[in-house]
Each structure stands twice: as structure tokens, then as C-alpha cells.
């Protein structure tokens, strides 16, 4: 094989440049096609990443720990004890950047005008800031000051619907651990602005305040944790499950199936786009290679007459295709990498920001393409390109010497 490549390599390279115009056209087709695939993939990744972060940074985190059955029945009865020393040690692994305990129960919030259903969250504000973006999204008033803070932070939209504001009092009703109804007045200390669904759904108070109100002692509803390196999430989940076998340790894909579906769709769409672009590229590649083969049919006949085996002719044409497409792939990769690098600082969606947020993304997208995906997509195009070029190559190899040599004469 190496001897064959030594024989055919230089010949194929020179043949590639035999018709520079046609070569340049093919190279441009491949480079532009690959460029569109790689840049589109980087943008889709950015969108998926932004969408995922927007969702996960709200409250979900990379994963959560609950009492068994909580996800199906998220009430006070499905609570769990505060993490013991073993679980705390497991949560202290370097793979987890931060973790937080919460009380999270369904409740009804009532102003003097209206009563609305909410999810009441009891949080430790200092730790919550490391996991959730909501503490940083306070638009009016302030966030909670501590775990024993008896104030409440509402979403701005919820406050509008309740016709309440910072400084006013609201009543929160929720079921206690003993089955009775807890009812407590809170002063609105802050309003957060952000995702409208979150603004409507959540009300935050201090962790101890919520525990006391619900009569659950030091029990909690959930632990949310962040794993910055997505690749390590699986092993972290497995490790936590081993340490806390009686608890339900779930990744974000289970907790937020919509975000997971968007993520999967974005990944799949890269390949859909790849195939669409590849069809166009394949038409160009096959067309030019067929032309090149037909123009040189006499030469292929000559090569066979001189003693070159048909499989070597097949290899030669494939090698030419590999070189031709390879040049386009390398150029496409270089220009794509430069483009992605140029927007490393992010693309501000500007006037599209509101629409982007409606679809779950942030207003700044950070195009990114993992080196492995970059290489994988490029190699896929290269390989597929060589694959379609097999057709003209087979035509060249199957030509009979006499017919081929009389064809052009």
C-alpha cells in the first residue's frame, strides 16, 4: 500500500493541478460547504449552551438530590434530612463547583387583591448566589440577607399580578409536615426580573424561615449542585448515588427534559445541516471528478496498457479526490476556526435579545466548537467526499484499454 501511495501520490498531486480552474472551483465548493457546517455548528452550540445555561443557572443546576418520589410529588412530605458528613464529603469533590440546600414546596401567595399559586423556596442566600442567577437579577429592593431572613423575594411579574410591591406584606400558605396548613405573613423585600416563567412561579425566603414555617426541623427538599465539566456529570451522579443510595440523584436532563430536548435537537440539527450541505457538495464533487475522468479516459486506457492494474487506477482517482477535497477541507477548517475565534468574545444579539430570551437563550451567544467536533465534522466531509468520488473512480478503473484509448482518439 505504501509503495502504491509512493507511486501514485506525486502523480495524483500533479493531476489535481492539471486543470487549476476546475480544482479551485471544487476546493471553493468544499471549503464554503464545510465553513457553513462548522460555523453553523458553532452557532448552534452557542445557542444550545446559552439556552441550557439560562435554564440550569436559574435553579436547576447540573443535577439535584431529592427524597425518593419528590419529583413526582414535590410536597413537604417528600423531604429529606440535611446532608450527612458522607454526602457532604462527596459533594465537596473538585468536580462540583458549588452546591446548595433548599426547601421547595408548593404554596399559595395572597395579597389584599389576589391569591396565586407559587413555589416557595427556602434558600441560603450566600450559597444560592453561587448556584443560581436569580439573586443577581433583583430589579427592585434587595435579595435576602441570610438564612433566617423573614422577608420574601418575588418575581416582578408575580408582584404585578398580586398588585403588590417592595415593602408591602403578603401571606403565604403551605402544607406543614404534620398535614396542617401553615400560614405566614412576609414583607416583600425584593423583586427579581428575568425569565417570565420564573418571575411568575417562584417566591424566595430564608431557608430557616421556611423550615420553621413548615415545621420540618433541619429537613430540606433538595440539594442542587453545579458540575462545570459536563463530561464529568455522569461520574459525579454515580458517585453521589453510591454515597446516598436512599436518595434520588438526577442529572439536569431528567430534571429539565425540555432543555435536554432542545440540546439534543441542536446537536442533531448540526448533522441535518451537514447532510444538506453535503448533498450540494457531492453534486459538485461528482460532477467535476466525472468530467476529469472522462477527459482522461484515454490516459486511463494507456495506464492499463502500460501495466497499471485497475485497482491502482481506482486508488489514483480516489487519491486525487482525497487531495482535492482535502485542500477544501483544510481551507474550510482554517477559515471557520478564524471566524469562531473572531467571535470568541460573544455575539450580542442586540435587538433580537428579547426574542432570543423568549426561546430560552441569553442575549449574548458565544460561538464554540470543541476540537473533537471540529475534527469529526471535517473528517466526515472529507470521508464522504472521497466516498462519492468512488463512482467516477470506478468508471476510470473499469474502462477497457482499447475502448478507453479509442474513446478520445
Amino acid at each position: 500500500m505504501i509503495a502504491a501511495l509512493r507511486l501514485l501520490g506525486p502523480l495524483a498531486w500533479r493531476n489535481v493541478w492539471r486543470n487549476p480552474r476546475r480544482t479551485i472551483i471544487t476546493v471553493v465548493v468544499v471549503a464554503v460547504g464545510l465553513y457553513s457546517i462548522l460555523v453553523f455548528a458553532a452557532l448552534l452550540n452557542a445557542w444550545a449552551q446559552s439556552s441550557r445555561e439560562t435554564t440550569l443557572n436559574l435553579l436547576t443546576g447540573s443535577g439535584q438530590i431529592h427524597a425518593q418520589g419528590y419529583l413526582d410529588d414535590p410536597t413537604v412530605s417528600r423531604r429529606m434530612p440535611a446532608p450527612d458528613a458522607k454526602l457532604q464529603a462527596a459533594l465537596a469533590t473538585p468536580a462540583i463547583s458549588a452546591w446548595v440546600e433548599r426547601v421547595r414546596v408548593p404554596a399559595v401567595i395572597e395579597s389584599e387583591y389576589k391569591a396565586l399559586p407559587v413555589t416557595l423556596l427556602g434558600v441560603d442566600p450566600a450559597r444560592e448566589r453561587r448556584v443560581s442567577t436569580i439573586p443577581g437579577q433583583v430589579a427592585e429592593g434587595s435579595y435576602l440577607s441570610g438564612s433566617t431572613d423573614a422577608g420574601i423575594v418575588l418575581g416582578r411579574h408575580l408582584a404585578d399580578r398580586l398588585k403588590t410591591r417592595v415593602g408591602k406584606r403578603v401571606i403565604v400558605m403551605a402544607q406543614k409536615a404534620n398535614g396542617s396548613l401553615a400560614e405566614q405573613a412576609y414583607r416583600v423585600v425584593g423583586l427579581f426580573a428575568g425569565n417570565m416563567n420564573a418571575e411568575d412561579a417562584y417566591a424566595f425566603t430564608g431557608l430557616s424561615t421556611a423550615q420553621t414555617m413548615l415545621g420540618i426541623g433541619a429537613s430540606i427538599s433538595e440539594i442542587s449542585f453545579d458540575v462545570p465539566d459536563e463530561a464529568r456529570l455522569g461520574s459525579v451522579i454515580a458517585a453521589l448515588s453510591r454515597v446516598a443510595p436512599g436518595l434520588d440523584v438526577s442529572p439536569w436532563t431528567k430534571l429539565s427534559p425540555l432543555a435536554a430536548a432542545v440540546d439534543s435537537f441542536m446537536r442533531a440539527f448540526v448533522y441535518i445541516w451537514l447532510w444538506i450541505m453535503f448533498v450540494f457538495m457531492a453534486i459538485g464533487i461528482v460532477n467535476t471528478q466525472l468530467m476529469a475522468v472522462f477527459e482522461r479516459l484515454r490516459e486511463f486506457g494507456l495506464l492499463q496498457a502500460l501495466g497499471m492494474r485497475p485497482r491502482l487506477i481506482l486508488l489514483q482517482v480516489c487519491l486525487e479526490s482525497a487531495m482535492l477535497i482535502g485542500i477544501g477541507v483544510v481551507i474550510g477548517m482554517a477559515v471557520s476556526a478564524a471566524t469562531v475565534a473572531a467571535f470568541h468574545g460573544g455575539i450580542d444579539l442586540g435587538f433580537l435579545a428579547q426574542g432570543a430570551e423568549y426561546f430560552g437563550a441569553g442575549h449574548v451567544l458565544y460561538p464554540q466548537l470543541a476540537p473533537i467536533q471540529f475534527a469529526e465534522l471535517s473528517l466526515l466531509i472529507w470521508g464522504l467526499g472521497i466516498g462519492v468520488a468512488l463512482w467516477p473512480a470506478r468508471k476510470a478503473a473499469k474502462s477497457s484499454p482499447v475502448e478507453a484509448m479509442s474513446h478520445a482518439s
Binding site: 507511486l7 500533479r14 492499463q304 502500460l306 501495466g307 492494474r309 485497475p310
Partner: protein
């Protein structure tokens, strides 16, 4: 140096055709191109195959060269029946035992003169340094010393045909088949080329079978075969320059 051609001489003819027929089918019409050719070519011969256009010269050369298969009959090269060979073995046979010179030179345009010759040696798996040495020597033999690195586009027709002759001879085949090698050349170049081929035949002992109707070529032949309508109509031994013109 003992060539394969010389070695084969004692063993019998280098080419043997028995009852060779070739019929082309053009739609419903069958066109006979060869009508039962019986022919032996001895090793070391310098033979010409002449006849008007359509007489079957090229078809017969294609059969002998293993480029095409007869409809009936057998063709044997150096004792090997080509009818028993598949496509790959025929290719191997051409590489090792047959050299070709075509009317249209047919050099590989992206390779230099020396590389065109080296290409055959490379197919034979000969080492790079030996290839170069033999290619340079072959070019010197055909009077193209110093033109090793010129591409075909920068060579005249006569020079290209000399490269083709060098390429045909470099692997020391059993036979060189040349089809109208002088047809595209001017008178002086054609005369020089024929003289060159005759000289190389004499020097190397490699058999030449040349399809031609060029009297200058026939004049150098030691054997002259005439074909008409796919049949051999004359087959004469003659002294060079004394042949029928």
C-alpha cells in the same frame, strides 16, 4: 546482457497466433475484423505489419498486446496463452513482457520525460536510484540526453515518440508493439525514429512488431507481413532496405 527476448529465441516464437478471429458487433450488424490469423513472430525479429486502413493491423496488435480478446482462436506470448488470463494477469503480462509505442505518443503529460520512463520501473517495484539510472540511460539511448526533466508539452513530436520508445524498452520486454509510430511525424523525424528502433532492436535483441504503411519503416524490416480485410496476404523475410516499398 542477456535479454528475455534472446533467451526465448531458442524456445520458439515469441508470439504465436492460431486461427485468431475478431468480430465486432455494431447493433445487429457483425463486422469481421480478423478472419483466422495464423502467425508466428520469432524472438529478435524486426517485423512490420502493413495494409490499408481497416485491414485489421491495429486489431491484431491489440490481440497480441492483450488489450483486446479474440472472438475465436488463441494468442500466445512467450508460451503463455492470453485466453486463460484474467484482466489483472493480462495487465501484469503487459507490464513485464510487452512494450507499446502508439501513434499519438501517449506520454503522461504531468510527468517529465524521465518520470514517464521511471513510471514503468516503479510499477515493476524497482528502487528509486536504479529507476533514475535506467531512465537516464534509456533517454541517452534514444538521443535525448539532457532532456530528462522536460515535460511532454515541451518536447517536439519526434522527441516525444523517442521517449515513448525508451519507455517501451526500459523494462526489457519480450516484444515491442508499435502502432503507426511514424504517422504523426515529419519525414526526417520519422526516418530517424525508424533507424533508432532498428538500431535498438539490433542492440538489444528485443522483438519489434510494427503496424505501419510507412515505406520508410518497411524498408528497415527484416520481415514484412501484409494484411487485407483481416487476413494475412503476404509474409516475407527480407533484408533491411531491400523490402517491398
Amino acid at each position: 546482457m542477456l535479454h528475455e527476448a534472446q533467451a526465448t529465441a531458442a524456445a520458439g516464437p515469441i508470439v504465436s497466433c492460431r486461427g485468431v478471429q475478431k468480430v465486432y458487433t455494431l447493433g445487429a450488424v457483425k463486422v469481421p475484423a480478423l478472419n483466422g490469423i495464423d502467425l508466428d513472430i520469432a524472438a529478435g525479429d524486426f517485423a512490420t505489419l502493413a495494409g490499408p486502413s481497416g485491414s485489421g493491423k491495429t486489431t491484431l496488435l491489440n490481440m497480441i498486446g492483450g488489450l483486446d480478446r479474440p472472438t475465436a482462436g488463441t494468442v500466445t506470448i512467450a508460451g503463455e496463452d492470453l485466453g486463460k488470463f484474467d484482466k489483472n494477469r493480462l495487465t501484469e503480462l503487459r507490464l513485464h513482457k510487452i512494450g507499446f509505442v502508439f501513434q499519438a505518443y501517449n506520454l503522461i503529460p504531468v510527468l517529465s520525460a524521465a518520470e514517464n520512463i521511471e513510471f514503468i520501473l516503479q510499477l515493476l517495484g524497482i528502487a528509486a536510484s536504479e529507476r533514475r539510472r535506467r531512465a537516464v540511460a534509456a533517454l541517452k539511448d534514444v538521443g535525448l540526453e539532457g532532456m530528462e526533466d522536460r515535460r511532454p508539452a515541451y518536447l517536439s513530436g519526434g522527441q516525444q515518440q523517442r521517449v515513448a520508445v525508451a519507455r517501451a524498452l526500459v523494462a526489457r520486454p519480450a516484444i515491442v508493439l508499435a502502432d503507426e509510430p511514424t504517422a504523426n511525424l515529419d519525414s526526417k523525424t520519422a526516418t530517424d525514429l525508424v533507424a533508432l528502433m532498428a538500431r535498438l532492436n539490433a542492440a538489444s535483441g528485443i522483438t519489434f512488431l510494427i503496424g505501419t504503411h510507412d515505406a520508410r519503416v518497411i524498408a528497415h524490416a527484416r520481415r514484412h507481413i501484409e494484411m487485407t480485410d483481416g487476413r494475412i496476404t503476404a509474409d516475407e523475410n527480407c533484408h533491411p532496405n531491400d523490402a517491398l516499398v
